[in-house]
Symmetry: C2
Subunit: 237 residues, 2 copies
């Protein structure tokens, strides 16, 4: 936790917050914080600043906070991800938030096992929990938007063309394709699709291409989804 | 598992292997393989090719194998990593093998907790197990070399200058430093150091600089070690 993220409900006065639960535990056990110390804080969806620890005991921590710094800019990207297996999903949500992706679409694909859609990790509070962990890691305050699309075809045919309009559309896909572009300017919008383990099937690659997303490759090596996400984002921008 | 990695001990004839244990279970449960099918195989440290499944039963699988393709080239990099916490270590070892790093140095740092050095995941068979998983993911056969350096100063003063000689030496470090270079040619040797959670301390950055490694940054966001590894490698090459 490189940033203590605060929610509106934490405030007991305009410049005072009271924390318990996970964040209190983190202050006590990992940060080993003591009264008088200053910590980096951020207001969810808002600015970042400093919190001075007024009091820390077994049940709660009280901080005086001020905010004077905007969060880091996001990448100009919409990331489409074939729904990963539940354990990987949690880590990918953190990675997506950490790397500064503002919009994530979790999408069905032929090679996504049906059972993956049943996971409790897809419920909104569970998604939010992982995104918050990713923001705290990165020092960011702005939650990415997460869109869930359980049907590939209607999404790709009806909604993706609009979503991807005006952006550079890419599909990360192993094979004889052009290499993934490098070092794009931060005002170049991108829509990037990353497939499931085992990859998109040819029909899906074709449908994505019809919606304006062209295949690009990242070399011979097959990467796990989480590794592919950070590698592709770091190469693109 | 995108490649079935074979060891010399698996061979019962020049072109026949007999598998049990983890790989058998994977063939049965994940791959749901049947006799007659062909699978991608690789000989550890050697070539890749095809294996035809002759027989698969509860206790073992027999394959006829042939090898005709070299493994993918490695990146020209030596990666120095402050020892991550045990759970992260296992994933990082996989990532390092998947991304094609040929040499990894696990190094002490002021911010590495002493207890991390006690983990059984640092024993050679445990390291090898994670590297193999990473190679199977990437479709590679060549194990990275893993060097363990429990003392920062003697390593950085006495051995690092030789190890880094003739290479571009870099330290991934947040702050007001030049950005990490992009798209280096594959014949440009690099020595890259990535710090612990919380980062290198200034003394360590200075000692690394004296050994020829200059700080570079990857933007404002603080990345987890595993994310930093894949992001920096994907940006460099």
């Amino acid at each position: 936790m490189n940033l203590l993220l605060l929610e509106p409900a934490d405030f007991v006065a305009a410049d005072r917050v009271l924390l318990d639960g996970r964040r209190l535990k983190h202050l006590q056990e990992v940060h080993r914080a003591e009264a008088g110390e200053s910590l980096r804080v951020g207001l969810i969806g808002g600015d970042m600043g400093e919190g001075r620890l007024l009091r820390l005991d077994a049940g709660s921590a009280e901080l005086q906070v001020s905010f004077d710094q905007p969060p880091p800019v996001k990448l100009p990207i919409t990331l489409l991800l074939a729904l990963p297996r539940p354990k990987m999903l949690r880590r990918v949500l953190q990675t997506v938030a950490t790397m500064g992706v503002p919009r994530l679409v979790l999408l069905n694909s032929y090679r996504v096992e049906k059972s993956f859609w049943q996971t409790p990790f897809l419920e909104q509070p569970a998604i939010r929990e992982q995104l918050i962990l990713g923001l705290e890691q990165a020092r960011d305050t702005v939650l990415p938007e997460v869109i869930i699309e359980k049907r590939f075809k209607p999404f790709v045919e009806d909604r993706l063309p609009l979503l991807a309009a005006g952006s550079l559309g890419l599909v990360g896909h192993p094979g004889d394709f052009p290499p993934c572009p490098r070092g794009l300017p931060l005002d170049q919008p991108v829509t990037l699709a990353i497939g499931p383990e085992g990859g998109w099937i040819p029909y899906e690659v074709q449908k994505l291409a019809e919606a304006g997303l062209q295949p690009v490759q990242l070399g011979e090596r097959i990467l796990r989804v989480e590794t592919a996400v950070s590698a592709l984002l770091a190469r693109l921008f």
